[in-house]
Symmetry: C2
Subunit: 345 residues, 2 copies
Amino acid sequence: MRWAAVLAGGVGSRFWPVSTAERPKQLLPLAGPRSLLGLAVERILPLVPVERVLVVTSRGLEGATRAAVPALPAANVLAEPFAASTAPALAWATAHAAAADSQATILSLHADWTVADPDGFRAAALLALDLAEQADVVVTVGVRGVRPETGYGYIVPGEALGRTARRIARFVEKPSAERADALLAEGALWNTGLFAWTARRFRAEIATHTPEVAAGLEALDRGDVAAMYAAVRPVSVDVGLFERTTRAAVVAGDFGWDDVGSWAALRRVRETDAAGNVVVGDAHLVDSTDCVVWSEDGTTVVDGLQGVVVVRARGITLVTTNERAPDLKRLLARLPGPLAGEGGP
Amino acid sequence: MRWAAVLAGGVGSRFWPVSTAERPKQLLPLAGPRSLLGLAVERILPLVPVERVLVVTSRGLEGATRAAVPALPAANVLAEPFAASTAPALAWATAHAAAADSQATILSLHADWTVADPDGFRAAALLALDLAEQADVVVTVGVRGVRPETGYGYIVPGEALGRTARRIARFVEKPSAERADALLAEGALWNTGLFAWTARRFRAEIATHTPEVAAGLEALDRGDVAAMYAAVRPVSVDVGLFERTTRAAVVAGDFGWDDVGSWAALRRVRETDAAGNVVVGDAHLVDSTDCVVWSEDGTTVVDGLQGVVVVRARGITLVTTNERAPDLKRLLARLPGPLAGEGGP
């Protein structure tokens, strides 16, 4: 049967000062009235019943995660003892599914995306699941890039694999803007992290290619998650598996995917006013264009500004620019410790 | 004897959202730890003992005004029943002094200025007082302009009157920038509102030239302030007296006068950091220049911005630009009534 593994352990600082270690991005209602996690689970329910949806998070976020998806069975929240990147998390989720269902196929995704076309998303996910089952490969869904993002990984497709998929020629991580332009021109795809595999194939590939995680497989077989995490080393499934195996394939999708990487990204994923502004909360804009204003603990008035981000939350007002918003980590590093510390590690 | 009349009735919105009808500009610590009113009184005490300093304010501000200048005798706070511009206020203060001292000379000033050179200020004030007494004229102190301000009135000096003063050729109110440049080039002075006159001459001039106020003089003679205010019509002493009489003179001063007309003006009157920013309260600036940041009810972080004004007070954050800050009234008119209403009329 088909299962979903939703990665929801992020503790990032990209949405400071709203986001905190206790209320990270995926639990925020960034795209609308519901949390990104809630939207992510809702998006896959037509493919996978909630009983087979697993959500991987951290121990600190276990309660908040359950609260964000009340329909989820309690046992389906997998709370990691510590973060070790995506390969250990997905190894646990895959083993959890396999223990209940030896024929399990897994769709893995992140809790903190937005998707403009959920039907297109599900169509691509079905292609990936079908391919994983029929061609016995691990599958990644690449999306057609719409701008030369320098913060993403790119997948260069190789030879055809059936009618719907391609082998993977190579991965390119975080290219320069010029290189990103060239990659898009040659048909490279953004590597999203939407994956599919059978539990059987995934385990075999991890055992062969990913010693960082393979060291924990025996403990995992015994159901001893603490011992498994004590044995693994952090590694992403991209680097630890996809870049090492040849039993991988890519399917292309086009469904308005966005990883909502910064406050400025809200201008892509939320409705803007006639002047291109995103306004959330008690905020009033006058003669201002292309701004993002989020005001959740008071009133914000923005007058005569272009392309600024203003966020008011938790007793803090942040004023920065769309250009600088993606690099909040750099800003937080330059603020006094107690202030920056609130943004999480 | 010499008296001072300090006009402290302002209820302006130029320092919204910090300023309110109950806490207007002159009661704010805009130039440093003390209120502008406190600084104004302190500045004249070497010339006039506190027993002869009168402060004219509104009834609503009477208590706050006393609290801001605790050394002032209670009877020296003159609380107007309503605002009627400067001529009625100064007629009352002048009559109040004359009732105690028939030989009174009055120095009149505003509570909401800053003065970089208090010694120079007092020297100019002494020149004006001497001239008022010796030449029996009403005297205005004009300051040498340092920029082509379009929001000020200008005084064009005429023929000499003794060694230190000039007659007034004409007044020019709020010129265009081009006209202001030309006025400065021909030696015109900013009309500050720093005046001097004997009580006797002032009353005679008002009786002759200022019917708007003369209608209330009889009531004022009886000490019936309510009847006086009921009889007068609002008029400024500039328009109602100086522009109408020929018994006027101007002395020139140069003492770093500033009327602190907007948040942006704080960059002139307060110390700036190496990047030209004024930072007051719990605020942190990174890679930002020429900003004014005032944060009194929480933390403000400004990142990568030039020439912006950010003010956090009373549950409101204002973000605007140095260029637009002088015209907050225009902004408030475009905000929802309850929000804008907090800024006072």
